[in-house]
């Protein structure tokens, strides 16, 4: 365990919204090319922590952070950091599918274009196709690439957002309840996708669905009131967790 270098290391992290503290002294390491699930009751700070990894919290004025987050050797909250570059390395997929009001093609091409990741149109075409392939969406949309991204089903839109996230070839993909608006079939497809993506990406997924966390992740972190209560192998967390709080939560005994 100790000889694998973590992709993300969090040390002594505290996060405040104004005077209200949302994250309390969190220390954890996220392994590379694994799926880590964040679980815990509503308001426990999962999204807050997730947003720290690519500094999405910067968009919230009252949000203040102390402690350290490292992406490999890069100090994420260093003043010198290039935030745009950081967000290409750490991509994000949100709860509600949010394709841009552009064509399917442009949704995926947008990132690589603005970050100058391709030198000509044929290379861009290649990235778009490959990303849609990886997101398991290519066959379904290849004949309608120039129709609006908002004109496909919710499940397809979510996979489009995943294609968009992987088009810039990030190292980490953050997903905040990516399936909560999807039906079981669309959910199964996204889960299948997550499984295949972990070969190339480090994935962190927030989910309220315990079975989903158990299915897709190798590590699970359970949070309560802004603190990390338990963090370990998913197999163990869902069959015999160490902490009573975790046990109460995953079995629906929380009161």
């Amino acid at each position: 365990m100790s000889d694998i270098k973590p992709k993300i290391s969090v040390s002594n992290l505290n996060v405040f919204y104004g005077s209200k503290q949302a994250i309390f002294d969190i220390n954890m390491s996220i392994n590379s090319k694994e799926v880590t699930a964040f679980i815990g009751p509503s308001g426990c700070g999962k999204s807050t922590l997730l947003r720290c990894f690519n500094r999405m919290n910067d968009l919230i004025d009252i949000c203040k952070i102390n402690g350290s987050i490292k992406l490999d050797d890069l100090e994420v909250y260093s003043k010198k950091i290039d935030i745009v570059r950081l967000r290409t390395r750490v991509g994000m997929v949100f709860q509600k599918p949010n394709p841009f009001p552009k064509s399917i093609y442009d949704n995926v091409a947008y990132g690589p274009k603005i970050h100058g990741l391709c030198k000509d149109v044929s290379e861009l075409d290649g990235i778009v196709e490959k990303s849609l392939q990886s997101a398991g969406l290519w066959e379904e949309v290849k004949d309608r690439l120039h129709e609006p991204g908002t004109g496909i089903s919710g499940g397809q839109q979510q996979r489009l957002c995943i294609a968009r996230a992987i088009a810039t070839n990030p190292e980490v993909i953050l997903m905040d309840e990516p399936c909560s608006a999807l039906d079981p079939i669309a959910t199964a497809k996204v889960e299948e996708l997550i499984d295949s993506l972990k070969k190339n990406f480090t994935i962190i997924i927030v989910t309220h669905n315990m079975q989903q966390a158990a299915r897709v992740s190798q590590k699970t972190a359970f949070f309560h009131l802004g603190a990390l209560i338990e963090f370990g192998n998913t197999d163990k967390v869902f069959t015999s967790p160490e902490k009573e709080k975790t046990s109460d939560y995953i079995t629906g005994r929380f009161g």
Binding site: F238, S240, S247, I250, T251, G252, R253, F254, G255
Partner: protein
């Protein structure tokens, strides 16, 4: 059941307590069958043995009902953690109890055959085996009723004594049978009865192991010391 607090869902709590009740019911019927078997054997009562054999059907039906309950619970609740372990544990316990029912029933089938034989000299040893296995089985039921996994350790130790008793009886009877040919037929039946009682002891131990599993999540119980043949 195991697990300190109630679920938020009261119907989930109720379903679990119904399942628990079905297993306790299965245990009570088995205990009853078992007690009657001792009397049937001791008093050479064919009627009592037949009654026990008929009761085995109830055990099979209860097992089916328990498996159905567990299936529904898994489908509806998608249990995690201790709930998952309890359901896996209960599935196994129901299976062991069903086996115990079969074993008791087969002991009684042989008892009916033995009624016409003279087995006065061996009777006491078999009755002793009966009562050792009974004690063990009752302890394992108690262990389940109280969800007391420390008691499981006691059950495992006692199983060793039964194994010893059985081996001793087996060797002695075998020797007698080789000297006394009219003992071959009843002796063979008695060997099987003794073997079945020893197996009941094993299943009582399995039940106790399943209870420790439910409490701790350790699937593999530590190796049980074996008595060499």
């Amino acid at each position: 059941m195991i697990g300190s607090h109630d679920h938020i869902s009261t119907s989930f709590n109720n379903e679990l307590s119904n399942l628990n009740e079905s297993l306790l019911e299965m245990g009570r019927i088995l205990e009853n069958m078992y007690e009657k078997s001792i009397i049937a054997f001791d008093q050479k009562s064919e009627d009592a043995s037949r009654e026990v054999i008929l009761n085995d059907k109830k055990i099979d039906d209860l097992e089916t009902s328990i498996i159905n309950q567990i299936q529904m619970l898994i489908a509806k609740r998608q249990p995690m953690g201790v709930d998952l372990r309890v359901l896996v544990g209960c599935t196994r316990i129901a299976g062991y109890m069903e086996r115990i029912g079969d074993l008791i029933s087969s002991v009684n089938k042989r008892n009916i055959i033995l009624i016409e034989h003279n087995i006065e000299n061996e009777k006491k040893d078999i009755v002793d085996l009966f009562s050792s296995a009974m004690k063990l089985f009752k302890k394992s039921l108690d262990c389940f009723a109280r969800k007391d996994f420390k008691l499981a350790e006691v059950v495992r130790k006692q199983d060793l004594d039964i194994d010893k008793q059985y081996k001793h009886f087996f060797n002695e009877l075998l020797e007698k049978m080789s000297n006394e040919s009219k003992l071959v037929v009843p002796g063979t039946h008695m060997l099987f009865i003794a073997k079945n009682l020893e197996r009941i002891g094993d299943h009582a131990t399995n039940i106790a192991d399943s209870i420790s599993y439910m409490a701790t999540g350790e699937v593999q119980a530590p190796d049980r010391p074996k008595i060499s043949e």
